[in-house]
Symmetry: C2
Subunit: 222 residues, 2 copies
């Protein structure tokens, strides 16, 4: 499968690109607003993988071109940008493509991080509202620490929850997640349940902040 | 330490009573609005423990009398009842007692469970508002499945997050939690972070509902 990581030059894009390209047979395409930044990031990821003896092609394109080439499009961009990015790439989304929303609305103050949900109820709902009707939308990767993904020597042993109303799209994302050693996908139900899933991101940042040795903490449901 | 479980005849009270009495040296006191129900539950827990060769005394009292006897008071009652119960037992709370709030505000519809927070921001904040000033309040046990606690043969290997502004009270609760094999306490920060912690309860219920074999699922931060 071909997976585009829009905002693929950021932390989560970096982590997902390296893990997916290193440990699965999926094609990874990096997207960015700036095509030069996308090329450069793709080259850098490819070089990192090559140093580890993994010779795979990672390509980089402007976001809409990256989306156009992919079956699965991950919106690894800040929550306030998701609607604009979906609009910008809509022409590159085809019937039965899958759009993945990992962003969580949150704010930070002196006490820590907390959920700050958009009026749509969740960022996943924002994406579902903005997406073409024939594209499946799945919220995922909210509890996956980007730094740990990017460290290819780090053990994972953690889960991500999938949330959304399109069961076929959830199965596609579940398959990709389960292809990565140490990652497991679990179903958290329909779009109406997305707020609780997205609240895991500030929760994990608070746990990381308050406990020694938990900088890149993830979660395992057991 | 002496631990009162108010609402100790319910599911979480049952689970905590059995685990604490079976596997720690803390004294367990069951509280209920109805003193007869408290006595009966205490006798039943004691009988269960005795059958397993663990001869410990579990006592039962009306809520205020139970609280009066304890150093740590767990409000194992529904979220809508916490304020009334704190008011009802206030005369039995002494300086430096610790009040533990495990309840989560939530609602259920056809799609699953979701957080439904009180206007105070969290149930823990409701309890903190209602509690005497010299009593420490800690939110805890939101991610601990009651049924698994009550099954003394079930492995735990799961965490609970502690949230609140009173560090001494959090240390007391952390010590009790860590006395139970397979349970670990982690700090989730101050009271302002309680909403995300309480949102774990509906999240876990959704995960249990949507995935086979996860009926009494808990969570491990790793």
């Amino acid at each position: 499968m071909r997976i585009a990581l829009l905002g693929g030059t950021g932390d989560l894009g970096n982590g997902l690109a390296l893990r997916l390209a290193a440990y699965t047979n999926h094609d990874v395409v990096i997207g960015s607003r700036d095509p030069d930044a996308a090329h450069d990031a793709a080259d850098a990821y490819q070089a990192t993988l090559s140093e580890r003896g993994r010779d795979v092609k990672v390509t980089g394109f402007e976001n809409a071109m990256a989306a156009d080439r992919a079956d699965v499009v991950v919106l690894a961009v800040p929550p306030y940008a998701v609607t604009d990015v979906v609009d910008a790439v809509a022409s590159g989304l085809h019937a039965d493509d899958v759009l993945v929303a990992p962003a969580a609305g949150m704010r930070r103050d002196d006490d820590g991080f907390r959920a700050h949900l958009p009026s749509a109820g969740s960022v996943t709902a924002l994406v579902a509202d903005a997406a073409p009707d024939d594209v499946g939308v799945v919220g995922a990767f909210h509890s996956i620490p980007a730094g740990r993904l990017a460290d290819l020597d780090a053990d994972l042993g953690i889960d991500t929850l999938l949330v959304g109303d399109d069961d076929r799209a959830k199965r596609v994302v579940s398959g990709i997640v389960d292809d990565v050693d140490g990652l497991r996908a679990l179903d958290a139900g329909g779009l109406a349940n997305a707020a609780e899933v997205e609240s895991l991101t500030p929760l994990l940042l608070n746990v990381a902040r308050e406990n020694d040795g938990m900088r890149d903490v993830g979660v395992s449901f057991r």
